[in-house]
């Protein structure tokens, strides 16, 4: 019960954080591009709940939820969105390039499928050093069409590396529905071609996600090689803040919203509404604090933009 309540807390934190980001984007305090995770919270929270602090995470450009679920500080994430020097990437990454080595969160990535080979390398390094840890690699259904996906799947399987490939299948890559981009739309089937075990899971059910992840990790940790999860989910909002979202059927969106992962868990837990509104209040305070932190932080000094292009050699 306590554990499940924690899952609810994390999902709600992501949801409210994202809603606030949308507001701050409209008021232009957040600039650049913004891709929200609303609706998909159960995936990040369910998977991440089973990952320990030594494990590693590789993410996408839709990664605020992954970072929050991983435990990257909301203050540092919000400051990053604002482009402030106290942000988790020093204000240089913005929404799509959150990065936090201290939680082994190896970054959002604006290049679709760009993170997959990196995950293979992280896992290879961990294995070569005899560290019993796993790398979670998140990517969307769209990424499965890129060459880097296929190269990475093969490499990880060939070398039997400890990677959990987490495919967030939300049915769309920007405006294109999965049938129009994949010859085989059952994405989990793809893993078979690489000799990799795969499972399909309801990505709107955080408990199911957590359970399937637990089993997968157990196998990976016993050196069985990589695994593939297809997490079936849906983004409740448009692809990005620029996207008018004309390509999705209203009824389809409504249908998926009925499966809201937060409502679902709250119903399972049979929580009294007071408990939920108390939780909401607490979360609002966390987010208010993060926004205040981001607002008051100073931006990077322009003169220092030329730093860190190369490593700084000590003289």
């Amino acid at each position: 019960m306590n554990e499940s309540f924690e899952l609810l807390r994390r999902m709600l934190l992501i949801r409210r954080f994202e809603e606030r980001c949308a507001e701050l984007y409209s008021s232009q305090e957040i600039r650049g591009f913004l891709h929200l995770y609303v609706g998909e919270e159960a995936v990040a929270v369910g998977v991440m709940a089973e990952f320990g602090p030594e494990d590693a995470i590789v993410s996408t450009y839709r990664e605020h939820g992954h970072a929050l679920a991983r435990g990257v500080s909301p203050d540092a994430i919000m400051a990053e969105m604002f482009g402030k020097a106290t942000g988790c990437s020093g204000g240089r990454g913005g929404s799509m390039h959150l990065f936090d080595a201290s939680t082994r969160f190896y970054g959002g990535n604006a290049i679709v499928a760009g993170g997959l080979p990196l995950a293979v390398g992280l896992a290879l390094a961990d294995r070569m050093q005899g560290r019993p840890v796993v790398t979670a690699c998140f990517f969307g259904d769209g990424a499965v069409a890129e060459g880097e996906f296929h190269e990475s799947m093969n490499l990880a399987a060939l070398w039997r590396l400890p990677v959990l490939f987490c495919c967030e299948n939300n049915l769309y890559a920007m405006g294109t529905r999965i049938e129009r981009t994949h010859a085989v739309t059952e994405l989990a089937v793809r893993a078979a071609g690489y000799g990799m075990p795969a499972e399909v899971v309801d990505g709107m059910d955080v408990l199911a996600v957590r359970e399937v992840t637990r089993k997968a990790l157990k196998r990976i940790r016993s050196e069985a090689g990589p695994q593939f999860l297809e997490l079936q989910t849906y983004r409740f909002r448009a692809h990005s803040m620029y996207d008018p979202d004309r390509y999705r059927d209203k009824a389809e969106i409504a249908e998926w919203k009925r499966r809201d992962p937060i409502d679902k868990l709250a119903a399972t837990l049979r929580l009294p509404t007071e408990d939920i509104s108390k939780l909401d209040t607490e979360i609002t305070e966390v987010i208010d604090a993060a926004v205040a932190f981001a607002r008051t932080a100073s931006p990077e000094n322009v003169d220092s933009l030329t730093r860190h292009v190369y490593s700084e050699v000590r003289r």
Binding site: G32, G142, T181, Y242
Partner: protein
């Protein structure tokens, strides 16, 4: 017939006309069909020409460009849209190793009339991968032609000329200028249009030559207006073609003014400015009153949105370079 069009709409009309003129012209790219592309440059074309001529592809840049090579080998004229500058890199292998080399490798037997459209440059509040200026990578590669349009009229004509060209062309579109309007005379014929691989003098002046292309042409023109108030007459040349470079008008101008300033968003180091400076120095050495100066992006990855005004060359930086040239 003359119309006022945005640069984006001019490209859209140019593509439409090319498709009407030649049924072998086909468009391919990510979300270009139903959605009309992220910048709506292909808006309405799939509806009117069908999904066999305006093809929505999966996210597979390398595959898209390689497919275009095969299509071109069989007589099609593919026009590829790369969604943002930074997404061209997965296709770089196909562009450099296949697109650029097939004609040469076949001793001229096969032609590759492929156009690779790339919205480039910053100024729209985006970040790295979405604001880059990768033109020099392509201009460096023999076998590719590289052009950049700067205004609606050129956009309309240059895209059609590029499609009609038998050589592969990397076609750079200044994304921050997509919404800027200008007069476009759509009545002429392709043959009578200003030639594709020619630079164009936009303002004539006697004091210094300013060379720009794509999004920086507007900045150069603004600098010329501002400089005129100080009594300095700048000659602004829109290069338009980056490979091959058209140096005729440039040399004439520099011989007259004795000063040259190159402006681009791409980083200094080995940018187009380096090649232009070298060629001007080789040809116009005795006419030069000062070294050729460069106003360019800094040698750093494209910065976050908040810092992009600092990064992008602007009016002040161009005027400052003019001053430095005169102070030499």
């Amino acid at each position: 017939m003359s119309e006022t069009l945005t640069l984006g709409k001019a490209l859209n009309l140019g593509l439409r006309r090319a498709m009407e003129d030649d049924s072998k012209v086909i468009l391919m790219g990510e979300d270009i069909g139903k959605l009309g592309g992220v910048f709506r440059i292909t808006d309405g074309l799939q509806k009117d020409f069908g999904d066999e001529r305006v093809i929505d592809t999966p996210l597979a840049e390398s595959g898209i460009v390689g497919t275009a090579v095969g299509l071109a080998l069989r007589g099609y004229r593919p026009v590829i849209e790369i969604q943002f500058d930074g997404f061209v890199y997965p296709a770089y292998d196909q562009i450099v190793c296949q697109v650029a080399k097939m004609h040469y490798r076949s001793r001229g037997k096969v032609k590759l009339p492929i156009v690779i459209r790339i919205p480039f440059g910053g100024g729209i509040g985006a970040v790295e991968h979405h604001s880059e200026s990768p033109e020099a990578y392509f201009a460096h590669t023999a076998g590719l032609k590289v052009v950049a349009c700067s205004n609606p009229s050129d956009a309309y004509w240059m895209i059609q000329q590029a499609i009609a060209s038998d050589d592969p062309i990397v076609f750079f579109e200044p994304k921050r200028r997509y919404w800027e309007k200008g007069e476009v005379d759509t009545s002429g014929s392709l043959e009578s249009a200003f030639p594709l691989h020619s630079s164009k003098v936009l303002t004539s002046g006697t004091d210094a030559t300013v060379l720009a292309y794509g999004p920086m042409v507007r900045v150069a023109l603004d600098a010329a207006t501002a400089a005129a108030e100080d009594g300095r007459k700048l000659e602004v040349i829109d290069l338009r073609t980056l490979s091959p470079l058209d140096m005729g008008a440039v040399f004439d101008s520099v011989r007259k003014t004795g000063r040259a300033i190159v402006v681009h968003e791409a980083p200094h180091n080995l940018g187009m400015g380096a090649e232009l400076a070298a060629r001007i120095t080789e040809e116009c050495f005795y006419s030069l009153e000062a070294p050729v100066l460069r106003v360019a992006g800094y040698d750093i990855p494209y910065p976050a949105a908040r810092a992009e005004e600092e990064y992008l060359p602007d009016l002040d930086r161009v005027l400052d370079a003019v001053d430095r040239s005169f102070g030499w």
